[in-house]
């Protein structure tokens, strides 16, 4: 064989060897049963009691770019009540667009380089989730109990966490929101519509508004979930609060008649033209804007919308002209009439392997102080206990803050008195694919491109055949 050929082949071979050597490691495909890095238990045995890991160099955060509230508040805490904890373990924030963060989290996890706090997708942190199995997720309820501050989490918020993630408590409830239908009181008054008491009333009101030339509903369809929430809303009224839990536990299927009927009802709303023509392309801020400038009469949203409603720059309708009504009951429907769909914001997990005393101190400080200034700074509610009732920000420093708008007071009361909470449609989603499919295809359902049965079959398939 000609020498060059040998040389070339040797060259190729050595390259292959070098790369393979560099590539060998736990994440190279190995013909073994699926295992990840060692679980938490063996690590806990080696470290100090309640602390399941060792402290890192900094209190590192990896959050989505869209998540502006948490970094801002934590930075305020670092400069204020948590200055001592910050001195011991400085805060450091890195943000990545939501579309790419799960990719990054996977990479970091596979190399044991996850930061202290990060925004994983739900599917990773449920009991059988990838990150749980690999031992990265701290059981926050247990950690807070050991720190003596477990009661700083509002019972309602903890109830939601327990429903979402039974037995593992993997997320911090930086937000606490109830969901319902925000409506424009002025428009209602102008058209002689009273607050709907039943679902039929709601549809009748919407139809009347449409006939009068007013846009009845609006939704940020571009994100998908603002429309699929409507399906969940109908479901928890027609089949009761356990509707989605039953599906997650395989006791029911989405293709059962009750669920398909819910999808059908929402499709009917779409076909009746009650949503804007461009709903599929409408982004969330525009939808919020529609409501607070009076372009649309009603919008199903969560109480994070208060930030927009209480902002005089955005709200041209009037601070006291937007109301929140509970999703109306359906005659013959099941479930607790007083239940609100509730959520605790996007998941914020703590890395169990980096949970040492300094991180513990930070954690304690956060749960003690996060809620206090959240209303003032961000007009939002969190799942932590505040040491005083909500106070709004003063227009200029030093002057008295304006009175809390009635809607905010009302919401605070509703939250405090809520006896039961209900999960939203994609809450118990088994995979990122389910969440994505549920949202994206809801628009097709809405405009009639997809039948209710097709929609539910697609989703049921995602549940039956997880990736």
């Amino acid at each position: 064989m000609a020498p060059t050929r040998i040389v070339t082949r040797l060259l190729h071979a050595s390259v292959v060897v070098v790369i393979l050597l560099a590539a060998c490691g736990p994440s190279a495909p190995a013909p073994s049963t699926s295992t990840g890095p060692a679980p938490v238990a063996s690590q806990a045995a080696a470290s100090n009691g309640q602390y399941t890991g060792t402290d890192p160099q900094s209190f590192s955060l990896l959050l989505t770019t869209e998540n502006t509230q948490v970094p801002a508040e934590l930075q305020r805490l670092a400069a204020g009540p948590c200055a001592a904890e910050n001195a011991a373990l400085p805060l450091s924030v890195q943000q990545t667009p939501g579309a790419q963060i799960q990719q990054q989290i996977q990479l970091l996890a596979s190399q044991n380089s996850l930061p202290v706090m990060f925004n994983p997708t739900q599917a990773f942190i449920v009991k059988d989730g990838a990150l749980q199995k690999a031992g990265y997720i701290l059981d926050i309820k247990k950690a807070l109990t050991d720190l003596g501050v477990a009661d700083q989490i509002l019972p309602g918020a903890q109830a939601v966490i327990d429903q979402l993630y039974p037995g593992v408590s993997p997320t911090l409830p930086f937000q606490y929101n109830i969901e319902g239908i925000f409506y424009n009181k002025k428009i209602f008054a102008e058209h002689g519509i009273s607050v709907p008491q039943s679902w039929d009333d709601l549809v009748a009101a919407a139809t009347k508004l449409k006939a009068a030339g007013v846009q009845p509903f609006t939704a940020g369809g571009k994100s998908g979930w603002p429309v699929s929430r409507w399906i969940g809303a109908y479901l928890f009224r027609s089949l009761g609060g356990d509707a989605m839990a039953a599906v997650a536990n395989k006791q029911a299927k989405l293709t059962d008649p009750g669920y398909v009927a819910a999808a059908q009802t929402i499709q009917d709303l779409g076909k009746a033209g009650l949503f804007p023509v461009g709903v599929a392309s409408e982004d969330l801020p525009t939808a919020y804007n529609d409501l607070v400038t009076g372009k649309a009469a009603m919008e199903y949203q969560g109480t994070w919308l208060l930030a927009n409603i209480n902002d005089p720059a955005q709200n041209t309708v009037g601070l006291d002209q937007i109301g929140l009504l509970q999703v109306p009951v359906i005659s013959g429907g099941k479930g607790d009439a007083g239940a609100w769909p509730t959520n605790v914001g996007s998941p914020h997990a703590i890395n169990a392997k980096l949970y040492g005393p300094k991180v513990g101190a930070w954690l304690k400080c956060i749960v003690l102080h996060y809620a206090d200034n959240l209303m003032t700074n961000q007009t939002a509610f969190s799942g932590f206990k505040a040491s005083h009732p909500p106070v709004l920000a003063a227009p200029t420093p030093g002057t008295t803050p304006p009175p809390v708008p009635p809607l905010t007071v009302e919401v605070a009361n509703d939250m405090a008195s809520a006896k039961s909470s209900v999960l939203w449609f994609e809450a118990l989603s088994p995979s990122a694919k389910f969440t994505s499919d549920a949202g994206a295809n809801s628009l097709l359902l809405l405009n009639g491109s997809m039948t209710p049965l097709q929609y539910m079959t697609l989703l049921q398939n995602d549940i039956d055949n997880p990736q």
Partner: protein
Amino acid sequence: MNQVLGDRRAILILLGPALLMYSAVMVIPVVWSFGYALFRGNLIEGFTFVGLANFGRLVQDEQVAAAVRFTLLYTLVISTGQIVLGYSLALLYTFVLRRSSSLIRTLVFFPVVLPSVAVGLLFSRLFAVAPNSGPVVSVLDRLGVAPFDFFAAAGTAFWVIILMDLWRSMGFYGVLLYSGLIDIPTEILEAARIDGARGWRLVRSVVLPLSLPVLVSSIIFSLNASLKVFDTIVALTNGGPGSETTPITLLMFQTSFFYSSFGYGSSMAILISVMCFMVTIFIFRSSRRDLTVGGAA
């Protein structure tokens, strides 16, 4: 002389670095990808060997079938459009504009160099109906067509994608085919004209056959590029509404990175490669003729 031109050391120095980079970045990963396809899992959980299960799933998966159907439909429509429009433009440049075609050629070509995301965003604004009506919807409104959302239904979204990609690429094919047309000797054209062939007949019986080589090349090039469509669709609809405009390339990307299934994603990558392979074999066949015979026109 042959010894000099066959100098081993020189060959190694000239060829070595390129071959090294190529092996490291292309060859190894391709082989590795085949490996991935035999496993199921992701980077965090590790991988389990599942043999050919991923491929079994691939052929049964309805979403994969839909994505492949979409890719093939898209390729067919866009390639036809690119070639027809490109050829028409080439005819325009050669026979109508002749010397002064340079300016128009430059003008029609420029969308080719624009970043695809920029073009996608531009078109999504052109056809927008929210937050306010873009130009197209406004004009249609004037003509009596009630505003509707182009991107809410699969059919209309598809045609916007086609329009956008044609806008982007027709200049390229125009120039490519033009280069083939100007090579046609004028004597032949003159002779044909003297024989009475005019206009369309001239094109059909003289121009078309003589420009066949470049036409075939362009068709194959177009097919190959269209099968791999990714950028423009991500920028315009991101596969939506739902997954109605999702080509197999996008589905592979989502499966691997959003749904964390590296194994299944790799099997899709192999599917894409097989589809491209069939078309590219023709490219190789036609270019190999050049290599051995030596020298193209």
